[in-house]
């Protein structure tokens, strides 16, 4: 029992918060905020409410204020802007009148409070006689200890102060310096001294809950978190919010006190201006506050928020399976495209929505994928259509586009990207028919080939039978087939025909019948091929043909404006040809003068 009592005493002695905090706190009037109140309006404070009962704006403006403590009426008093502009209630609440005009009274309200002011400058330090300790602007020297009393010299601002302190004494030398004698140990002749200086608040600002983007018809709303990172409380906190691109709902917000390391969340709401394009708006936040002495502290921060265009467009693509009753052969999926456009402005807008499908797609029951429309203020419209692919494969969809005009300028916006690839299952058969030659002589043979490719991802049963026209006779090869063609595979069939009679022939189209796994039927048809069968030619005809061919070839060379350097001609032959040409020309031209010469010679003989 004795031990327990002793332990309790020791604990009380060491863990007495009052003794450690009393030194650091001061009783001061703390600014609670500025209020502009009309008749019957109230200012809510911590534990108190101040209500304006009436305002009398005569030669000397007066107002009657009521004070409530925890919603219980306590006192009524009259204030004016003159001598009686300050009223203190119960030593706890002080009301200062700033002005009374236009039916409003401006008040500054203070509350009496014992508050942390001092913080440790030099922590508890052991001094023995003769020890001293210096800081920037003061010096402490322990002169001696006599009967539990420490004799200390404090040098402050070039002036010495001789003091005697007992254990637990403290002295405030100025608004910026205080000494605290924590403990004097008589046995060891030690004195534990600490010094204190006034603390300071520090404002830190953070943004919370800021969204990636905001719609123009909603508030840009986020949290501004103000933290006091200083060492003493911050008072009279006023947050001012400004925005050039919108209307701030609460330009100023107040908070009475923010203790060190405490946070206050302010809700910021800004109504952005309505614009046709998405853009960033800048919201300027500034916070100011005061310490216990009325020194101002402030901080500011710009917040950027993205506000979307007043026109929005969204596109959604859904793949759906065709019903088993659908008789159509080919693909097994179709697509439902939903486009949603919204006008969040306060006026109607004429827009044109357009969508581009992959080239293999055909929209169902619509002529074009472009829709002009008028969207009323705040209205949302949806476009829904279906599209099918003409062939199987993997496809991607492009975003839809919306175009509109605002103040004479044209604006264009695309919807969200359509993520992913859409697969269309189905069958696709490609048929190619070829001839080894389109010219042949009677009696010759040629090959006719058919290549059937299954480009889809489903197996297909195929069958065909070739028709051989008159003038040709079947020799050998595969001219008919029936069987299954596996997805992704190709098969080639070749057969040989012999030319029987000459003429021009069109080989008939080949029709390949298709049947997919679900029993749906279709067919694919090849092109018509032209074939010329010539008569057999004799050797003489062959020579004539050669000559004709050479002539044609020579003239072709002439027309090409090229040299015809016949490799057969020699220089002697060429010279002889020139010589003979010259002689011939000479003889022809000389005929007339020769006869004239002979005639004249005979006449004048």
């Amino acid at each position: 029992m004795y031990k327990l009592l002793l332990l309790t005493i020791v604990l009380i002695a060491f863990i007495d918060p009052a003794s450690s905090t009393a030194v650091r706190e001061e009783d001061i009037w703390i600014f609670q905020g500025s209020f502009e109140l009309g008749t019957s309006e109230r200012a809510y404070l911590e534990g108190y409410t101040v209500k304006v009962n009436d305002i009398n704006e005569s030669s000397t403006s007066t107002a009657t204020l009521l004070i409530y403590s925890n919603s219980v009426f306590m006192q009524a008093f009259e204030v004016d802007t003159g001598v009686n502009n300050e009223h203190t209630y119960d030593g706890e609440l002080k009301v200062q009148v700033d002005s009374i005009e236009d039916g409003k009274i401006s008040l500054n309200i203070y509350k009496h409070k014992s508050e942390l002011v001092w913080i440790t400058d030099i922590p508890k330090t052991s001094f023995k006689t003769g020890d001293s300790l210096s800081e920037d602007d003061y010096r402490i020297t322990l002169n001696g200890i006599n009967e539990g009393v420490a004799q200390v010299t404090v040098r402050l601002e070039e002036e010495d102060y001789e003091r005697t302190y007992s254990s637990g004494d403290y002295e405030k030398f100025s608004d910026d310096f205080m000494i605290n004698i924590v403990y004097i140990n008589k046995n060891t002749q030690e004195v534990f001294i600490e010094t204190l200086k006034p603390g300071a608040p520090q404002i830190k600002m953070e943004i919370g809950n800021l969204q990636e983007s905001y719609e123009p018809n909603e508030y840009v709303e986020y949290e501004l978190i103000v933290t006091n990172n200083g060492t003493i409380p911050l008072h009279g906190i006023i947050l001012t919010t400004e925005c050039a691109d919108g209307d701030v709902e609460l330009v100023t917000q107040q908070h009475s006190i923010l203790d060190p390391e405490k946070k206050k969340k302010f809700q910021i709401r800004v109504k952005p201006d309505v614009k046709p394009t998405s853009r960033n708006i800048t919201i300027h936040n500034s916070v100011e506050g005061y310490d216990y002495r009325g020194n101002e502290y402030n901080n500011e921060m710009d917040t950027e928020a993205t506000v979307n265009s007043y026109i929005s467009i969204e596109k959604e693509v859904r793949s759906r399976d065709k019903s088993s009753e659908d008789p159509e052969f080919g693909t097994e999926q179709y697509f439902q495209v939903n486009i949603t456009v919204a006008n969040m402005a306060g006026f109607q807008t004429a827009v044109t929505v357009s969508d581009v499908l992959p080239s293999e797609f055909i929209p169902d029951d619509i002529d074009s994928t472009e829709w002009p429309m008028v969207i009323g203020a705040g209205e949302t419209k949806s476009i829904q259509y279906f599209a099918s692919s003409t062939e199987p494969g993997d496809f991607t969809f492009e975003p839809a586009t919306i175009v509109w005009k605002d103040n004479g300028e044209t604006y264009k916006m695309q919807s969200n990207q359509i993520e992913g690839t859409f697969h269309v299952s189905g069958s696709k058969v490609v048929l190619q028919k070829e001839l080894s030659s389109s010219y042949m002589l009677v009696g010759e043979v040629i090959d006719i080939s058919l290549k059937i490719t299954n480009d889809g991802d489903r197996d297909i049963d195929i069958s065909f039978r070739e028709t051989i026209p008159d003038g040709l006779s079947y020799v050998n090869g595969e001219n008919e087939w029936e069987g299954r063609l596996v997805a992704g595979k190709a098969r080639e069939f070749t057969y040989t025909v012999k030319a029987e009679t000459s003429g021009e022939y069109y080989l008939p189209e080949t029709e390949v019948s298709l049947s997919d796994e679900k029993g749906k039927k279709d067919s694919v048809v090849s092109d018509q091929l032209f074939l010329f069968i010539d008569d057999e030619i004799t050797e003489i005809e062959e020579e004539a043909y050669e000559e004709t061919y050479n002539q044609v070839d020579a003239s072709a060379s002439y027309s090409d404006n090229k040299q015809i350097a016949d490799p057969e001609i020699t220089k002697t032959e060429a010279a002889g040809f020139l010589l003979s040409s010259f002689a011939t020309l000479f003889c022809i031209i000389a005929i007339v003068p020769t006869f004239a010469y002979l005639f004249i010679s005979r006449v004048y003989k």
């Binding site: 002439y558 027309s559 404006n561 090229k562 040299q563 015809i564 350097a565 016949d566 001609i569 020699t570 220089k571 060429a574 010279a575 020139l578 010589l579 040409s581 010259f582 020309l585 000479f586 031209i589 000389a590 003068p593 004239a596 010469y597 004249i600 006449v603 004048y604």
Partner: protein
């Protein structure tokens, strides 16, 4: 038509014609005639490939391609023209020279006109024909 080939060929032919005419006027018509035949022949014999190729170049194609005109054709036309010029020059020179000689005839005999001579020949021919016919009878 290749413009460059046409211009090059034309310049060569023009140069050839100028040389021949210069020789004809200042030197000798016979020498001009020899140059006219010898120069192409020399080229043919010395550089047969290039010469034949040159002569084979088609310069134009007339009548919708029916009449192709090669450098060889142009050479023939040039030859025709220049041979004509040379021969007629020679003939006229001879004829004029003969007239001058007759004017200077020292025996003083009458000058016989060409038309009178022509009449005489015709009458002689008719007389011969009559005699031959009479003998046959």
């Amino acid at each position: 038509m290749n413009i460059a080939a046409f211009i090059g060929s034309s310049m060569l032919f023009a140069l050839f014609a100028i040389v021949v005419l210069f020789v004809l006027i200042n030197m000798s018509s016979r020498l001009a005639l020899i140059i006219l035949i010898v120069v192409p022949l020399i080229f043919i014999l010395m550089i047969p490939d290039i010469s034949i190729a040159f002569l084979s170049v088609e310069q134009m194609s007339l009548a919708n391609g029916l009449v192709p005109v090669n450098n060889f054709h142009i050479l023939l036309m040039l030859w025709s023209t220049l041979i004509g010029v040379i021969l007629y020059t020679e003939f006229l020179t001879w004829y004029l020279g003969k007239g001058m000689k007759m004017k200077k005839n020292p025996d003083g005999s009458n000058k016989t006109s060409i038309s009178a001579g022509l009449d005489k020949i015709v009458y002689d021919a008719i007389g011969k024909a009559k005699r031959i016919l009479n003998r046959q009878k």
